[in-house]
Symmetry: C2
Amino acid sequence: MKIEELGEIGLIERIVEKFRVDREMVTVGAGDDDCAVIDIEKVRNRFKHLVITTDTLQESTHFPHGISPFQIGWSIVAVNLSDVAAMGAYPFAFTIAMGIPAQTETSFLDELVAGIEECAATYNTAVVGGDITMSKELILTGTCFGFADRPVRRAGAKVGDLICVTGSLGNAALALKLLRGELKAPGDVDVAVKKALFQPVPRINEGITIANSGLATSMIDISDGLALSLAEIAKRSSVGVELYEDKVPVLSDEIRRDLRLSKRELRELAYYSGGDYELLFTIDASALENEQVMSKLIKDVRMSVIGKIVPQEEGIYFKTGEEKEKVEIRGYQHF
Amino acid sequence: MKIEELGEIGLIERIVEKFRVDREMVTVGAGDDDCAVIDIEKVRNRFKHLVITTDTLQESTHFPHGISPFQIGWSIVAVNLSDVAAMGAYPFAFTIAMGIPAQTETSFLDELVAGIEECAATYNTAVVGGDITMSKELILTGTCFGFADRPVRRAGAKVGDLICVTGSLGNAALALKLLRGELKAPGDVDVAVKKALFQPVPRINEGITIANSGLATSMIDISDGLALSLAEIAKRSSVGVELYEDKVPVLSDEIRRDLRLSKRELRELAYYSGGDYELLFTIDASALENEQVMSKLIKDVRMSVIGKIVPQEEGIYFKTGEEKEKVEIRGYQHF
């Protein structure tokens, strides 16, 4: 059955019944009224700030070949949650506006909605509202809301701070290269990196742990590539960046060994491509003296220290021994 | 110049500089960080609830012929504010996701953004964030946030309540008929009703006045036509509706006189067409005894009493003398 056969009301009913919400907090949910209503009495003494972000994904630009409808739904939530994670905030609500071609099969829509619900529920986020229109191509806009006591900004890094990232970089970009046939990889590598591209993991718990450490001075997600994200932290904080290239966690050890990628190729994947949803952040250098905090960050956040903040006039560069090499400032841009 | 020539960063900078925000409340605004940050400390003791709504407008379905880029921008804010108004809430923040064809002229974008800013500023709403992507057609998704102490729901109307609307109905639908050449009207009528269609006025102040009266039992905006909105109040509140047709404010007296529309035509415009952004609400019948409240509502809200709530089993009908005639339940649907 095509979705246009359901009619608008049937369509909305079909969707909203999938969204489970905590009725104590979300007193009015999706499809119930003109607006969703969130009871903020229970949280308002704990948090000082509301954070808001919005992000769009659309067929012609964003969906790699082979992504499933479930993964498309998952992704529109994940990319928004990643921005909430980058503030160190607790997400609580999400709205989804869907432009969908009238000829779309209802089974496609059902899987899409299941992906939205699954990602939101995984991170304690209620889908509280939305809109659905008939459009020429599939286009999804998510808006996500979180609470934060002390949001971590892009501005705030200071000379001497340690520069850190979560997880490992370059997986999504490698998957794109495999999809385009520019590289070949063993089956298990293929599956693992495509999952990173198709179903990104927002670093919500990591962001909260980093913010709650009390040591974070700045944070950003690296969805447009490490180079642009470093440049953004540097610009907003009026600082420079010294990068230890051999400390940057590019792919897993196994994948690097299997694929025998050159230094230039590794740089291209980790620094100049988009699609990784790890967090880039800076922490006060005093963290080094606090073994408990450091081991918690390394274990819970899978943190790597990849550089240090230097004065702004020094720019953004790789440091190897005594050698300095400029980092190019380029990455993923939509226009 | 085409917008694709600006590049993503240039484009975002061009847009965000237009949005003025109150920095005491919006501590991080559009373009500044991963998320916008709103300081809720100042409001959290006044309000118990956060309300959220999202609505999309797109070229192929929603933009009537002759609408200007400024009016498109105004409209995407207004249709979202209208949903906030229908809860009786105070709007405070707005995010805008724009899908824009790469070949769009920058002057078109500038006017669009000016319309967004103008409507938001008129209703004390800060544009705090957004997203911009390249799409096949112009598609805009707005998300609007408000605070409310006692949000007015669609559910809540009870037998005996008065049914009321703000302003006058049918103007937007009449404008569509004029645009399609199905009717002719004098120049001043043409201008007035097209403005209602192209640049709708969200009833923010009216919604707040209605909620603050303490007498409202239910409320909805009538953007999909009066009939569907009445049906929605009736369904959510488990009640029926008795409608006094001659009390329903359809168009202005002058326009009705000029155009000599039949009863059937007037019904079509006011009950079964979309595009009016007035508020439909119910108030406790005790209001009739409170002259001060009634005169305030009639003056400040331009309220007309158009019917009363009856038991659910009686359905939704026009009452003329002793005669009852069923109201058809149809109106504007996207699919």
